[in-house]
């Protein structure tokens, strides 16, 4: 592992036309992207204040969230220090490790509410699916990045196999939300690698065409019912419809200005279910109104934009694909959650990243940003080679 001091770095590049500003070099030394860090800190702070209200001023929850954030930030900084080529090499091992654990989950996992998602190590329980959230973009980016772009059909096939295996294992737990996110991170990398539009449109068409015989001849009535409920939760007013009706009521009654911090009646009086986890943006929308929502979405937009910029500037395909995949997966997180809470997407159980109460998911999310920072601050060593 090579560690570069700032001076060494300059000394090693005497002929370079690029000179670095002093500040920039400092951030490169510590492997931190300052703009991304700033945006993340603002988001974290905002998230904590919303959570404080959503949890009914529960100090316990806030303390717990702060502890996880601390671990997550430390994890982010640690990962940011890793050289990019080390990340590229280790991706596949992390992937294999993750797959093994996922199989173990299905065999000896523990869980609740009919889902078997955790591995218990006696003193600690964790979700192996979280590992795949990191392993998937790493592995796919490495796989595609080391090959000619756009990918050839057999590499596309290999890539799809890499995506499908963990996705099915996670789906089987069942954990639809994580399965979608893991799949998304793999497919996004494939997309960024230049997957032909013909394939993209073709497969979309295939899905549409295949769904008709699936619906009519393969699926049982109860399965159809489940899909219908998923697509239109409001039909089931007392079940999952209840959640979505209450969350829409919370959002809509917030109006432009909102009811004020900790003044949301839907959330404070417990009408809004899951208000501190998946449905937390409804709390924000109720208490801070459309203004608050737009600000929060802007913050997410800034983070995504910064991530894409890092991908744009990355020095190799692996870095570009990794940064792009991590960033866009983060956005999928946001879009699926916000879309679900506001009733335009089915309820699939995806938390609002960095705002919802979470444990390991916070750590993996921040680890993802660690990957971004590692890419962003990679020393420009390959310039002479090109």
């Amino acid at each position: 592992m090579k560690m570069h001091g700032g001076r060494d770095f300059v000394r090693h590049m005497p002929g370079s036309t690029q000179t670095f500003k002093k500040g920039e070099s400092f951030w490169r030394i510590v492997h931190v992207d300052p703009w991304l860090l700033l945006a993340l800190l603002i988001l974290t702070g905002t998230g904590l204040s919303i959570l404080y209200s959503a949890s009914g001023t529960s100090e316990f929850m806030i303390k717990r969230q702060i502890i996880f954030f601390s671990i997550a930030y430390i994890g982010m900084f640690a990962i940011a220090q890793c050289p990019v080529n080390f990340l590229e090499r280790s991706g596949k091992w992390l992937y294999v490790f993750g797959i093994v654990l996922l199989i173990l989950v299905l065999l000896i996992g523990v869980g609740a509410k009919g889902a078997q998602r955790w591995l218990s190590l006696g003193f600690i329980r964790f979700q192996p699916a979280e590992i795949l959230k990191l392993a998937m973009p790493l592995c796919v980016a490495a796989y595609l990045g080391s090959r000619a772009l756009p990918p050839k059909l057999k590499h596309i096939g290999g890539c799809l196999a890499l995506v499908a295996l963990p996705a099915l294992l996670i789906f089987k737990q069942p954990d639809l939300g994580t399965a979608i996110l893991v799949t998304a991170s793999g497919l996004i990398a494939l997309f960024l690698a230049g997957l032909s539009w013909r394939y993209i449109l073709g497969s979309l068409l295939l899905v549409v065409v295949a769904s008709w015989p699936m619906w009519n001849f393969v699926m049982h009535d109860y399965q159809k019912q489940r899909v219908l409920t998923l697509l239109n939760p409001e039909a089931d007013r007392l079940g999952s419809g209840w959640n979505i009706i209450q969350s829409k009521t919370a959002i809509g009654s917030g109006g432009l200005e909102g009811k004020g911090w900790m003044q949301g009646t839907q959330s404070q009086l417990d009408f809004l279910p899951e208000s501190h986890t998946d449905f937390i943006i409804a709390v924000l929308a109720e208490e801070f109104g459309l203004k608050g929502v737009v600000l929060l979405l802007s913050l997410y937009g800034i983070i995504v934009a910064r991530g894409l910029m890092i991908a744009w500037r990355a020095q190799n395909h692996f870095g570009r694909l990794l940064a792009g995949s991590v960033t866009l997966t983060f956005f999928v997180y946001v879009f699926v959650n916000v879309g679900m809470v506001s009733g335009i997407l089915p309820v699939v159980g995806v938390p609002l990243p960095l705002v919802s109460l979470g444990g390991t998911s916070l750590v993996t999310l921040m680890a993802g940003f660690g990957l971004l920072m590692a890419v962003a601050t990679e020393p420009k060593k390959t310039q002479t080679q090109t």
Binding site: K152, F191, A193, K248, S253, F271, L297, Y300
Partner: protein, 648 residues
């Protein structure tokens, strides 16, 4: 080509640049996609939060704000001296909030281990639960808990979610059976009453479980009820009320102030002890009802929170009919109590005069050889019976003669002017009208012509004639006031509104004729041969009255009434009407004693007790006024000071 892929780092600059641009191009596409999707989200929130804002505000308020009705306090009922006759007392009931209970039947079993919950309680609860009601509103299960039951529930409350002990005000009648028929009682609203409610009425009773069933409680139900209030409660998703946002106070029901005098009522009711009968006393000057007693009676408090089946059955099946309000529902032949007004009518028509005298051999015959109409006195009242004597001694033969002279067409209007055969219009429901027959009535209802003999029967208050005790009292009061007939009424003041009834009829007669009949009635009590002279011992005031005896069963021609041969329930009814003081009447009354046989011996003493009580009360009132005057004159300085202050 795969070899090339493996060694991409050695690819040409051009190739590398091309591949980088592929990714960068895709990044750009993705960025645009992100912008578009963010736009979709913002649009979605704009639609929800701005366009449909009002809709969702309504939904959100409907979620959290619960409107609970608040029961108004029922108006109180006072007697003329401000004594409380119908009070509200706190009562504790066991209520269940159905929404908080998962398994109601399991709860009932659990509750039954602690206190006694009867199947009828559960039945009623289920009916109430299915009534339209606000969610999370407690529904009564068991009413009127004893202190012991309250304690048992409190101890176990922690493990009985959704069970509450609620306080409510329920009616209490401190004088119980004394006023049961007149004031009536409230009881739980039943299914039939509920069905009759329109939407507005349902709202008015949304927090009230009782309704007036009989008597004044029924008549003045709407005034006594008041107006329902409401509380706007903020509740959480679990239905727990967190705070009161707003309160619209209920408007308490209006109080009733009665003409009725409790002491007089007590005297009347106690005088009836042991009899079946009724007393009605009326204030001559206003038509206000001073006492209205029906015997036997019952305890109205039994009905307030729901009477038990055994209690109700006992009352309902009693031969003495305690639930029956004899003052307005029982119809008796008035007997000789009609004689004064018929005599007055005779004088007014000029068909008889003060000097008309008849021979009374003890019977009357319409024509030779026809049936005999007997006088109550076998050998008659003498050869020169005038109207005075005929009233004083209650001579039937004289009135037979009068009936023949007047004919029914003259007799009918006389009784009608005194209110016979019509509802008096008293402010107590379920009054009956009695029967005052006429030629038209007989034709219509009996399909028979009027026979002269019918007039004879009517003249002594027999035959088809029926009157309620109240009607007799109204007749007497009308007579006492020399022709002012009022609608009798119990309520003097409703809330702050004074109720004054105008006279409904004026019976005009000459001063001499009033005085003549008045004197005759006075001698019924005070005369040596008066039929009610038995009550005049020690009288400090003058009473004018008339006794009456009404046959319960017809006595066959040529047979005598023999009490030993007929069962007690068929003995004659005894009646007495009277007013006092005779020269300046204040109070008029009617007494009916069922199977009391003689007005003189059974009914008149009851009247005496009531009068005595009245004049004692009056004397006490006068004494009090007198003494208070004395006190004020004892402090002239103070009085002067007050005057001077007023002058300023």
């Amino acid at each position: 080509m795969p070899a090339l892929g493996k060694h991409h780092r050695h690819s040409t600059i051009a190739n590398e640049g091309h591949q980088r641009r592929i990714i960068q191009w895709r990044l750009l596409v993705a960025f645009l996609g992100v912008v578009v999707l963010l736009g979709v989200l913002v649009t979605r929130f704009y639609l929800l939060q701005i366009k449909q804002h009002q809709n969702f505000v309504t939904l959100s308020d409907r979620n959290r704000i619960q409107v609970q009705p608040v029961a108004p306090t029922r108006g109180l009922i006072y007697d003329r001296n401000g004594i409380l006759l119908a009070d509200n007392r706190p009562s504790y009931r066991l209520s269940v909030i159905p929404e908080r209970v998962k398994n109601l039947d399991a709860l009932f079993i659990e509750l039954n281990k602690i206190i006694d919950v009867s199947p009828s309680d559960i039945d009623r609860f289920k009916k109430l639960k299915n009534r339209a009601r606000a969610p999370y509103q407690p529904t009564p299960l068991k009413l009127d808990l004893s202190p012991e039951e309250i304690a048992k529930i409190s101890v176990n409350e922690y493990r009985l979610p959704g069970v509450e002990v609620e306080a409510e005000l329920v009616r209490y009648y401190p004088y119980g059976e004394l006023l049961a028929h007149t004031i009536g009682y409230v009881g739980r609203i039943n299914e039939r009453e509920l069905k009759a409610f329109d939407e507005d009425t349902k709202k008015d009773y949304s927090a009230t479980f009782s309704i007036g069933k009989i008597g004044l409680e029924k008549q003045y139900e709407r005034a006594l009820l008041g107006a329902v209030g409401s509380r706007f409660l903020e509740t959480n998703a679990h239905g727990r009320a967190l705070r009161e946002l707003e309160r619209e106070a209920p408007e308490p029901g209006r109080d009733l102030h009665l003409h009725l005098d409790l002491h007089l009522q007590k005297a009347a009711y106690e005088a009836l002890t042991g009899w079946r009968g009724a007393v009605v006393a009326i204030d001559v000057k206003t038509g206000g009802v001073l006492a209205m007693a029906s015997s036997p009676s019952f305890d109205p408090n039994l009905f307030v929170t729901g009477i038990s089946y055994t209690d109700y059955n006992a009352l309902n099946s009693s031969k003495d009919l305690p639930l029956y309000n004899r003052t307005i529902q029982a119809q008796y032949p008035p007997g000789s109590t009609l004689k004064p007004i018929l005599g007055l009518g005779g004088l007014e028509t000029g068909l008889i005069s003060a000097h008309t005298r008849i021979n009374d051999p003890g019977f009357y015959q319409l024509a030779e050889g026809e049936r005999l109409y007997r006088d109550w006195k076998k050998w008659g009242h003498g050869k020169h019976v005038d109207l005075h004597q005929a009233i004083t001694e209650s001579c039937d033969t004289f009135f037979y003669e009068l009936a023949v002279r007047l004919g029914i067409d003259n007799m009918h209007p006389i009784g009608a002017h005194f209110g016979l055969g019509q509802h008096t219009g008293i402010d107590v429901p379920n009054e009956r009208s009695g029967l005052w027959p006429s030629r038209q009535w007989k034709k219509k209802h009996r399909r028979q012509p009027w026979y002269p003999g019918d007039s004879l029967n009517v003249s002594i208050g027999q035959g088809d004639v029926l009157t309620t005790p109240l009607q007799l009292a109204v007749m007497t009061a009308t007579f006492a006031s020399q022709g002012q007939r009022f609608e009798p009424h119990l309520v003097k003041q409703l809330g702050k509104q004074k109720i004054e009834k105008k006279g409904v009829d004026i019976v005009s007669a000459s001063r001499e004729n009033w005085a003549y009949v008045n004197k005759a009635m006075e001698s019924v009590v005070h005369g040596l041969r008066g039929t009610a002279k038995g009550i005049n011992k020690g009288l400090s005031y003058r009473v004018a009255g008339k006794t009456g005896t009404a046959q319960v069963v017809g006595i066959a021609q040529d047979t005598d009434y023999d009490r030993d041969k007929i069962s007690q329930r068929n003995w004659d009814h005894a009646l007495f009407i009277a007013f006092a003081p005779a020269d300046a009447p204040e109070i008029a009354l009617a007494v009916v004693i069922e199977n009391g046989e003689h007005g003189s011996s059974a009914a008149a003493p009851v009247a005496r007790s009531v009068f005595d009580s009245w004049f004692d009360i009056e004397a006490a009132r006068k004494a009090k006024m007198h003494s208070s005057q004395k006190i004020s004159t004892r402090h002239p300085a103070k009085a002067d000071f007050m005057v001077s202050e007023v002058n300023q």
